[in-house]
Amino acid sequence: MSDSTDSAGSKGTAPDSAGSGSASVDSAGSRAAAALRRYWRANIRIMAVLLGLWALAGLGAGILFADTLNAYRISGTGFPLGFWFAHQGSIIVFVLLILAYCLYMNRLDNRHRRELETTRQEG
């Protein structure tokens, strides 16, 4: 799963050079590979954060700490907190997590595309 072992192995492969033999593409290709590595690292980072929240809300608040949280009640309602997380809260958090991921990845994709375009123009 670790990214460091992956990037070590992929250094020699210039993704853009597949199907093309000209020499100038090689440096552009390695820049594109570097861009992909940066993109991938940012992706892994956001994933780790969001999956952490996922575990915290669903497995944590809904299950592991549910008995402790059940001692508290959401004010103005009849919901004990642990019960609420198990029945509704976690689902709401899940929807928001995917929304956050989509929005973040859209920006990341755009940045990545701009990087690739610059690479191609320079190459």
């Binding site: 072992t5 853009d16 597949a18 299950i63």
Partner: protein
């Protein structure tokens, strides 16, 4: 109009709509047949995924399960939604970028092995068949109860409808039918819930109604919270508290394992994964995961409310009533055997957790067995215990205390005395939920056989039209097999759904995640991991469910892990075996590395995708 006339009206209307869509979306090529031509917009794919995903179990059984399980019912709510986060973050965008037709395609290509492909195909077919059997049974239950047609004829009608739209339109027909089915099923679920919520709590939002106070006219005083009232009723009757955590067999470890197995299983179910192949781009794949969970959450946030409302009505309208006072819904449903009354002789119904409980269900007892219990019980009553046999003891010994969980959603509108058209709507919704899931599963079976086995392994030079005919033929056969399961349901259908999740969790999920996030994992470790995960999970479930093996505590936990949660352990075994073996085997070749790079690269400017350049695409 009567409930039955309304039911015929809604069912005929919705079936007509499905057939109309099928005609409009018929396809002529494999691309349209397997992946709807990759032209489905994200929001529409979200609706289709939601309908695909929410089965007869979600629609009919889940609220009932929650209703009897209370807090622990949350495992289904969290498990069946939490998986979408895994799906959106770990799988969907990459599978779309990979851009093939099926899940075994990815496994087979990434691990460059026909063995991996065949193992994946077998898992996909097995998971899909176990799941589809439950859907067909759902169709039969709805038909027999609401339309009072024979359960066999009900299943045959359902089969015919699915057959027409699945063979004509393939994935394209199924997708657009599922979009329509989503709206039918969500309307059918929400309208009764809203009506009951207004009646019981005065809140038009059932999701909020669950946490609010009961109407003073119902509770007898103002300011009584619904959940507190339920807890109090439960305490009075000897049931464990509705909102308390970890009661009975549902200890922390089991709740955790079952929830995690369902989450991971959801993310590994082939009929859900394949939906992400149908959208235009990687971005659209991410968004459709978001839309899917948003649409699903409409039902999943409502289900706990329906469950609690139904719990209240169920106890309130039955406990302490005499035969004359019993509501009419009770008689309607008593005929189906989903709820039974075994009186102790005082003529007053009692529903409790103790020995004096008089509410039971027929379960998997045959008609003859059930009526013999009833006849003996009547004899026992008439003779003051001198002859016959106490039916309560007999049914309790078989674990059939309390009503069947399927009754909760199907009968709650009647319990709350809602208008007859609302009651009828529920039937159309249940059918939509069952048919949409069945068609998605049948397509997975068809594409697994016709694409992965026939084309990729057996006949690589088959022509487009041959592949399409095989695809259509396999759907036809699969529909018939599924129908036979529906007409003669194997007694183990309900346990077997847990099986499907466990297997998906232990097989596909680790293989696909490692295939995307590691370039180092090669063929042999991955295949060994899949086989170890699936072998262990299947062994444990079969041994526990069918051969009465004691559940295992692994020397760590106070209680054994239930077969429903064993997929979690199976998944860990798969990961451990794969990662443990990886250093011992050579790195995969350059083509595999390039393929993984291309799957990670969100833009088309990335490395050449061998798939798109391959001649057959």
């Amino acid at each position: 109009m009567s409930v039955q006339a309304w039911t015929y009206f809604f069912v005929a209307l919705s079936f007509g709509l499905y057939l109309f869509i099928a005609w409009r979306t018929r396809v002529r090529d494999t691309r349209g047949f397997y992946v709807a031509g990759r032209g489905v917009p994200a929001a529409a794919n979200g609706m289709a995924t939601a309908a695909d995903w929410m089965s007869a179990a979600s629609f009919i059984s889940m609220a009932g399960l929650i209703s009897t399980m209370g807090y622990a019912g949350g495992v289904y709510l969290m498990g069946w939604t939490g998986g979408y986060v895994l799906l959106a973050l770990l799988l969907a965008p990459y599978l779309r970028k990979f851009g093939h037709y099926t899940v075994p395609d990815f496994v087979g290509d990434r691990f460059a092995s026909d063995l991996a492909r065949v193992v994946a195909v077998s898992c996909a077919i097995f998971i899909s068949f176990t799941y589809v059997a439950g859907q067909m049974r759902g169709v039969g239950v709805v038909f027999s109860r609401f339309l009072e047609v024979d359960i066999h004829i009900g299943v045959i009608i359902g089969m015919a409808i699915v057959f027409i739209y699945a063979t004509l339109g393939g994935m394209k027909g199924i997708t657009w039918t599922q979009v329509a089915q989503y709206w039918v099923l969500i309307t059918a679920f929400l309208i009764p819930a809203i009506a009951i919520s207004i009646k019981l709590t005065g809140s038009p939002l059932p999701q909020a109604g669950l946490g609010t106070t009961l109407e003073p006219s119902i509770a007898g005083q103002s300011g009584v919270y619904l959940l507190e009232k339920l807890n109090q009723i439960h305490a009075d009757l000897g049931f464990s508290s509705y909102t308390s955590t970890f009661v009975g067999g549902w200890d922390k470890v089991n709740v955790f394992c079952v929830a995690l197995a369902l989450m991971v299983g959801t993310a590994g179910l082939p009929h859900v994964l394949v939906r992400f192949y149908t959208v235009k781009s990687v971005r659209a794949a991410r968004w459709s995961a978001f839309w899917a969970l948003l649409f699903i959450s409409l039902l999943y946030l409502t289900a706990p409310a329906t469950a609690a409302f139904a719990r209240y009505y169920m106890i309130d309208s039955l406990n302490g009533k005499t035969a004359q006072e019993l509501p009419s819904w009770f008689e309607n449903w008593e005929k189906t055997g989903l709820i039974l009354w075994m009186d102790d002789g005082d003529g007053v119904m009692r529903y409790s957790a103790g020995e004096d409980n008089e509410i039971f269900r027929g379960g998997s007892l045959s008609h003859a067995e059930l009526s013999s219990v009833q006849v003996n019980h009547q004899a026992w009553l008439d003779s003051d215990g001198a002859a016959g046999a106490d039916g309560r003891t007999a049914l309790r010994a078989r674990g059939l205390s309390g009503p069947d969980r399927d009754i909760i959603v199907l009968a709650t509108p009647e319990m709350a005395e809602l208008a007859s058209w609302i009651i009828a709507l529920v039937a159309a919704g249940g059918l939509a939920a069952a048919l949409s899931t069945a068609s998605g599963l049948l397509l997975v079976i068809s594409s697994s056989v016709s694409h992965d086995l026939y084309y990729r392994v057996l006949r690589p030079n088959a022509s487009e039209s041959q592949r399409l005919s095989v695809g259509r033929g396999v759907i036809g056969i699969a529909v018939i097999v599924a129908g036979v399961f529906g007409i003669y349901p194997p007694g183990f259908v309900s346990q077997v759904v847990a099986f499907a999740f466990g297997l998906a969790a232990a097989s596909f999920f680790p293989a696909i995640v490692l295939g995307i996030f590691s370039k180092r994992v090669g063929t042999i470790p991955a295949v060994c991991g899949i086989l170890a995960g699936i072998g262990f999970t299947a062994f444990y479930i079969i041994a526990c469910v069918f051969f009465g093996m004691e559940t295992w505590t692994f020397g760590l936990f106070a209680n054994g892990i239930s077969p429903q949660g064993i997929g979690t352990i199976g998944m860990l075994i798969n990961f451990a075996v794969t990662l443990g073996l990886t250093p011992l085997f050579p790195r995969p070749g350059k083509e595999i590395e390039a393929m993984v790079d291309s799957v990670r690269e969100p833009e088309d400017a990335g490395p050449a995708v061998q798939i798109e350049t391959a001649p057959e695409h």
